[in-house]
């Protein structure tokens, strides 16, 4: 298809409707263009019509980078499908570019023959220059491989809002909803979900709600009347398992998981946190749940955040601190204290690109080794990882379970991709959630603060206020049983062994790692965390192509599942894709003496399915199987 087909066509020509299985749409614009919000609305609407979906927000660390520049581009990609999908898609089918910079940054990703909707009003000489274009790309042949629809989004929006009481600037701000309206028409989406959302969001500013709704409808009607597009698409509802669903972002799911753990344990939730991208939303979310007995404490720094949580844990709360990589580094000493005093604590690390300040708004998995080893002394602790936005709910519950049952700090790993991505979440039945009820120790007879449960090796949780159990804890080495300060060399070695053994015994309470595909064979793709989607998609495709490949995914990074060594031994090759330089691979080699193939990617971006598929094909010598 060529670019001249964007001419308005005669009204009587009917538009064909085509059913597609899935589509990837990316909105890209300035940081102030509302792209995250626009993408979020397409996501919500698609969730409500029953599609499966996955999203990938991509925004700059700067709140408002200079308008029109490349660093200021904010994008939101959503994939909508009528089947079970795992990733937000490698390449968009549709790109909405609100300005030249957005076009420049995203056009390389657009699929061949993909649809490009460009806001011509913003393609001014000045903006073109800012984006580094010497001439208007919409005029030349450079975009010949795409279906280009140049639309004066700003002009059209202004025209639609001629009667609006809003000022000129505020009217212009509605142009993202004009663009959204066009996409809604193109993919046959209902407007109701978004109009209801706008009415609710701007209940106190009805003129703003009205203007945005008008812009949305104008965009929709523009397509309807002008028949700018020759084809209109439909994406049927996905055949998701029966149940009640809700679209959820990772940070929200994690927050809800913590509240659920609080309810299931009967312990009040205490969050000590210091704002840091991309973890802050957990603090925001939980601060709204005060009526669930949640205490949120915005501390003066990362150290105070974890220390306040340790204090709350000592008092008998379900204590949590949330952070990202740099914050975890600062918390290291205090986490060591929690290991020593053997109190439950959940440390959520929403990983971002590092080292140092790194890439605050981009995703990475490079804190695995920091989580494992980033403390002084012999200081092991359990590490669990969420693998998708909805999975963060279950991962949070699991982290709390281990912390409470084993009286130990647990690091829960998420990342920027999980945190800000979203997907449909099949809501659990409350009664199916794990029972985390806790009995504080109250019996003063023979009380020893460092006696241990014979199964879990957990010490008793004896909280202040309990008569007769007065005792002292602290960071100095403890004497076995009494917990008194001890410098005895043999005792020190014994206590190090006990603390390590306690963590190792967590393996007794976690399920075996499950292999999807043949349990033994030529190639296993093993992942952890947010690579789940890309790995699943790639392995499924490879298997459809007849390749002998299985996959497995780790929830528990420490301890590893008991059967993992056996699983690894059953395959000729093991491929480990990770968004770091091979940290899990490093652990696996050390633990199992298995020569795993590491597939690192550290670009601040998730893996594409196609990348992993290509790697599988290479390893199986199947590059030519297509």
């Amino acid at each position: 298809m060529s670019t001249e087909t964007n001419e308005p066509v005669v009204a009587e020509r009917s538009v064909a409707t085509e059913r597609v299985e899935d589509v990837v749409i990316r909105f890209a614009g300035d940081s102030g263009d509302g792209m995250q919000l626009t993408g979020g609305q397409l996501t919500s609407t698609s969730a409500m019509v029953g599609n499966d979906l996955a999203t990938l927000p991509d925004f700059p660390a700067e709140i408002r980078a200079p308008a029109g520049t490349l660093p200021g581009v904010s994008a939101y990609q959503v994939r909508i499908a009528n089947y079970d999908i795992h990733t937000p898609g490698d390449a968009p089918d549709v790109l909405v570019a609100m300005n030249p910079a957005a076009l420049k940054k995203s056009i390389g990703d657009l699929k061949a023959n993909g649809i490009l909707i460009a806001n011509t009003d913003e393609f001014t000489d000045r903006n073109l220059k800012k984006a580094g274009y010497e001439s208007n790309p919409l005029d030349g042949d450079g975009l010949a491989g795409f279906r280009v629809y140049p639309v004066g989004l700003s002009t059209m929006t202004r025209r639609a809002l001629e009667d609006s009481p809003l000022d000129f600037k505020s009217r212009d701000r509605c142009r993202n909803f004009f663009a959204l309206g066009m996409v809604y028409w193109l993919y046959s989406r209902p407007l109701t979900s978004t109009t209801a959302w706008l009415e609710d969001k701007f209940a106190k500013k009805p003129e703003v709600a009205e203007a945005n709704i008008k812009a949305l409808k104008a965009g929709y009607n523009y397509c309807d009347i002008t028949q700018a597009f020759q084809v209109r698409y439909e994406v049927d509802a996905a055949h998701l398992p029966a149940g009640t669903y809700r679209n959820i972002m990772g940070n929200s799911a994690l927050s809800l998981g913590l509240v659920a753990a609080s309810r299931r344990s009967g312990l009040p939730l205490f969050l000590g946190s210091y704002p840091i991208t991309p973890a802050s939303d957990i603090l925001h979310e939980l601060s709204r749940f005060k009526h669930f007995g949640v205490t949120t404490f915005q501390a003066e720094d990362e150290i105070a955040a974890v220390c306040s949580a340790i204090g709350a844990a000592y008092g008998g709360a379900l204590a949590v601190t949330t952070t990202s990589g740099p914050g975890l580094a600062l918390k290291g000493e205090a986490i060591g204290l929690a290991v020593m005093i053997e109190l439950p604590l959940v440390v959520c690390n929403v990983q971002r690109g590092g080292p140092s300040t790194g890439l605050p708004t981009k995703t990475e998995q490079a804190d695995l080794l920091q989580s494992m080893y980033g403390r002084n002394g012999e200081c092991p602790l359990p590490v669990v990882a969420a693998s998708s936005p909805a999975d963060a709910f279950d991962a949070a519950l699991e982290a709390c379970r281990i912390a409470i049952r084993y009286m130990v700090p647990v690091i829960l790993l998420s990342d920027g991709y999980i945190a800000n991505g979203s997907e449909p979440w099949k809501l659990p039945q409350i009664e199916d959630l794990p029972d985390l009820r806790v009995d504080f120790h109250t019996d003063a007879a023979g009380f020893q603060p460092y006696s241990r449960d014979p199964g879990t090796l957990a010490r008793p949780w004896a909280i202040p206020g309990t008569p007769g159990l007065e005792h002292r804890i602290g960071g100095l080495e403890k004497e076995d049983l009494t917990g008194n300060v001890s410098y005895d060399p043999v005792n020190h070695e014994r206590m190090i062994g006990l603390r390590a053994e306690k963590v190792a015994r967590v393996a007794q309470s976690i399920p075996d790692v499950e292999v999807f595909g043949e349990p033994t064979g030529r190639l296993l793709v093993l992942g952890w965390g947010s690579t789940l989607g890309a790995i699943t998609g790639a392995v499924n495709l490879a298997r459809e192509r007849g390749l002998e490949v299985s996959r497995a995914h780790l929830r528990h990074l420490n301890p590893l599942p008991s059967n993992l060594g056996e699983v690894l031994a059953g395959f000729d090759q093991v491929l480990v894709p990770e968004m770091n330089c091979g940290q899990l691979a490093h652990l696996l080699r050390a633990e199992y003496l298995v020569d795993v193939s590491s597939y690192p990617k550290v670009q601040g971006k998730p893996f594409f399915r196609s990348e992993i598929l290509a790697k599988i094909e290479t390893l199986l010598g199947a590059d030519n199987v297509h």
Partner: protein
């Protein structure tokens, strides 16, 4: 308080652990005063928690037969804040030193003071790092020669009371290890305060900084160099109580009684003054030309942080009802997928 609370004695607050401070350390005196005062407060023993950081004074919890938490360097205020927020029913006391509180833990100290969390802070000030064997501390005087400052310290010292007042602290006091009666009275006053109570305790380190406070604590010098602050009383001091402190313009000065000058001309101490200016001036009184003030510099009411945190939660529960997990999960835009795959939105 229940009348059934057994009468507690000093012995009840002594743990079975051997006290390991150096013989002659001022910490012994502070420990004794605390162990004397706490049983008299009518509070069950199990309600007390002593939290400390790192340093000689931070070994304090081990010697108290209460709940105790010897944490990490400088962080006691942060740990105590979390504990008090989670458990407002507990009596949380912090034992810290000039290095722990003013250097590595400086940020946590100023934050707990500004928030007015209901914890008591006993800051042992010996003007030296003892546990690391004698480096200068943030309260060491300028020019001090120590292991790490062989040519003399160049750091201007903190004035702990001025710092606390600057943070908006609601209870600020000073006492001295060997002024046992005064120390006990000051501890009682701190115990009765609802917000953060900050007491600087001059404490002699006889190993690394001996006689640091001898200029005022020596028997002969004591009455002439110590100004006892008593609320509502004129500021009078001296062996013969023949001198006082007068406010002239924006300066505090010493006046000798006689020649028509008497206690009636002296400043009457008001620890409850809303304006902290005089307390700040008092905190700046330095030897040798002015006596060193001890006692309560400031004791004012301001809503305590932990109570407000609890009130916010109670208020939300009152408005919204106690949250139900079902409601939390099954909210927002939800849809149902039937056994037949049919999608129903709500």
């Amino acid at each position: 308080m229940s009348t059934e609370t057994p009468t507690l004695t000093k012995k009840d607050f002594q743990s079975d652990q051997e006290v390991r401070w150096c013989p002659g350390c001022g910490d012994y005196a502070v420990l004794s005063a605390v162990q004397t005062v706490l049983p008299q407060l009518g509070i069950p023993k199990e309600k007390f928690v002593v939290v400390s950081g790192i340093g000689c004074s931070s070994r304090f919890p081990y010697y108290m037969d209460t709940y105790g938490f010897h944490s990490i360097h400088g962080r006691a205020p942060a740990i105590a804040t979390g504990l008090k927020l989670a458990r407002p029913d507990l009596e949380v006391w912090i034992a810290t030193g000039d290095g722990d509180a003013m250097s590595i833990g400086g940020n946590h100290l100023i934050q707990v003071l500004r928030r007015n969390v209901g914890v008591k802070i006993l800051m042992f000030n010996n003007r030296i790092y003892g546990l690391t064997k004698g480096q200068y501390s943030p309260t060491s005087e300028m020019g001090k020669r120590t292991k790490s400052t062989p040519l003399g310290s160049l750091d201007n010292p903190f004035n702990p009371l001025a710092l606390a007042l600057g943070c908006g602290a609601t209870f600020v006091a000073r006492s001295v290890d060997i002024y046992q009666k005064h120390l006990r009275e000051t501890l009682e006053r701190a115990a009765a305060h609802d917000g953060t109570a900050f007491i600087e305790i001059y404490q002699n380190c006889n190993i690394f900084n001996d006689h640091a406070f001898a200029y005022m604590t020596d028997k002969e010098a004591r009455d002439d160099q110590t100004l006892y602050l008593t609320h509502g009383e004129p500021l009078v001091f001296g062996k013969d109580r023949d001198r006082g402190i007068r406010l002239v313009g924006t300066e505090l000065e010493v006046v000798q009684f006689g020649d028509g000058v008497s206690a009636a001309d002296c400043l009457v101490w008001d620890e409850t003054a809303a304006n902290p200016t005089l307390a700040f001036m008092m905190s700046q009184m330095l030897p040798p030309h002015l006596p060193t003030p001890v006692g309560v510099m400031r004791d004012v009411d301001r809503p305590s942080y932990h109570r407000q945190v609890v009130e916010q939660i109670e208020h939300e529960v009152e408005i919204h009802g106690a949250g139900k997990l079902e409601d939390l999960l099954y909210t927002g835009e939800i849809w149902k997928v039937g056994e037949d795959g049919a999608v129903t939105s709500f």
